[in-house]
Symmetry: C2
Subunit: 339 residues, 2 copies
């Protein structure tokens, strides 16, 4: 069965294709009521709906926005994706989602693919290793928006948390509870996010005149399994070196908790934990984590809004980079004990 095209409609309505196009697009171009009606009827009769592909080619827009993240199965990204989709759908946009698995190479491949697809914008939580490619895309006119992980030299719109501040407060919370030897689960230091969260931790130590000890920083990559391994190793060999831990994201918190569970370390009795980001199914898990909880719905919606704004601006004049720093919610749970 063939797709009905604009010519078919034009023929049935007895008008030219231009007229059909005008009507279909609700152009404010003048069309007599009568023809408009004839076209509308023909459209309905033939169940016509214009090929977005042909439009794409002609107009250089695809009505497609890409979301590039480490892993769409991470509830953090899935929640944001959900909210973005919700918002974008109503604006007539579709969402292409790709996972990089934290691999810069994979990320590069994905970005190149997106370039060819002519997506209208790219929202990316980048490894931070593809700066020149992102720059190139930007130059070619792709609105690029940085999500969660900023890349400062790029001067592109960014939405994310105040990592330094929030991590500092989390650490301070532990210190206030009497902890002095605090482990830090670091995410990838190639990303601003990873760096800034570590920085927040150090800032809190400094403020409280606690000496920074490099051996208390476990270097991970924001991923659960790896954190599990690091944590098990820590428990097995140097468990007594710390009384509390600051985790850099939700997955790392999960990995740590799994390790503690397997090593029969009880939280918060033996170890206290604070987390950047809450974990999935928290209501079913003991203890409730003391953490900064991110409002995924809001982040997703704002991201979508900013992205559309970029798209519209970029067709106009200068695109003004804009940074949006989200204030997450501090949740006082039961995962921290007093010393």
């Amino acid at each position: 069965m063939q797709r009905t095209k604009i010519q078919d409609v034009a023929a049935l309505a007895g008008v030219s294709v231009s007229t059909v196009s005008r009507v279909v697009n609700n152009s404010d171009y003048p069309v007599t009521a009568e023809k408009r009606d004839r076209v509308r009827r023909a459209v309905r009769e033939l169940n016509f709906s214009p090929s977005q592909v042909a439009r794409n080619l002609r107009t250089n827009k695809s009505k497609l926005i890409a979301l590039v993240v480490a892993d769409i199965a991470n509830p953090y990204f899935a929640g944001i994706a959900r909210a973005m989709d919700e918002f974008l759908f109503h604006e007539g946009y579709g969402l292409i989602i790709s996972s990089t698995d934290e691999s810069p190479d994979r990320e590069k491949g994905i970005l190149n693919r997106l370039r060819d697809q002519d997506v209208d914008a790219i929202v990316i939580s980048s490894s931070g290793q593809n700066i020149s490619l992102l720059e190139l895309l930007h130059k070619e006119g792709f609105p690029v928006m940085l999500l969660d992980r900023n890349i400062e030299e790029l001067h592109m719109p960014f939405i994310g948390s105040d990592n330094v501040r929030e991590c500092c407060i989390l650490t301070q919370y532990l210190i206030d509870k009497g902890h002095r030897s605090i482990l830090f689960l670091a995410g990838s230091l190639d990303s601003t996010t990873g760096k800034e969260r570590l920085q927040g931790y150090r800032k809190a130590l400094l403020k409280n005149r606690i000496e920074y000890d490099d051996s208390l920083v476990l270097h991970g990559n924001f991923m659960r399994d790896e954190t599990y391994r690091l944590s098990v190793d820590f428990f097995d060999n140097r468990s007594d070196r710390a009384t509390a831990v600051v985790s850099s994201n939700n997955l790392m918190s999960e990995g740590f908790l799994e390790a503690a569970f397997d090593r029969k370390i009880s939280i918060p009795q033996q170890y206290s934990l604070v987390s950047f980001g809450s974990i999935d199914n928290q209501r079913l898990i003991t203890p409730i984590l003391t953490c900064y909880r991110q409002n995924l719905e809001m982040i997703g919606k704002l991201t979508a809004q900013m992205t559309l704004q970029m798209i519209n601006e970029s067709s106009g004049n200068a695109d003004v980079p804009q940074n949006l720093v989200i204030n997450d919610v501090f949740v006082e749970g039961k995962s921290v004990g007093t010393i």
Copy 2:
């Protein structure tokens, strides 16, 4: 900055556009090594990469596959999406993901959108309320593949679980532990999946000569919050009517567990629970659920494979509908007590 196009490459290489096209597409068409080289060099120099949009229009393929699910933030779908993306990326395909929130209207809107985008295939976990539209898409040549929820009258390829069998076994497990009054958390009965799981439950009752009691079936819609409400209501008003419960999917299990937690009902001491599908962060949650665990990685990969197969076949001859029934893994946890 302008996109470089095939003409630019042709000019720089001193050949015709067809030659460039042939080289770029690795066509097995004969091209002399020398020209091939010249083209390759020009491609690199100009950083050329063909517009997928123009290709789409010309070839009627978009290298885009759509995944339509109730909610991409449901770990079940997110896990499948992740695995599909993994596989499809290597085959040169992108993945458009849309969430329907279980709304047939929303689903319809999404499907119409996808039609215009000319996606190469649609993978859908459908509400089951848009049969005629799915049929239309099929007639128009869109390969459609049903995921998790079958619609039998459509005779389209399907991948999913053996719902009747697995739910029957889950129920039987409870019966074997001495339970006779068993609550069933039903998903939407508009979907085959919802119906079949209920059917499996009834089958087990029948086999054991336990009378089916309609008031022990809580009618939900596969969603967490609603199940929470239904469960709380049950606990508050008719808690003593049952000693065990069969849940129709992961989210409903979570909703039930949250309700039990809030009402201080302990599992499995006061109530036993078996679940179709495991829950997120299970390792951190007590008790471990007795459930059928679905291998999302495998399901996603197989789905992607079948989809590509459909795409390739449909360009060829008859597309043979194919049903793939996954054997999930029975996990014996600690969520069931003996009576």
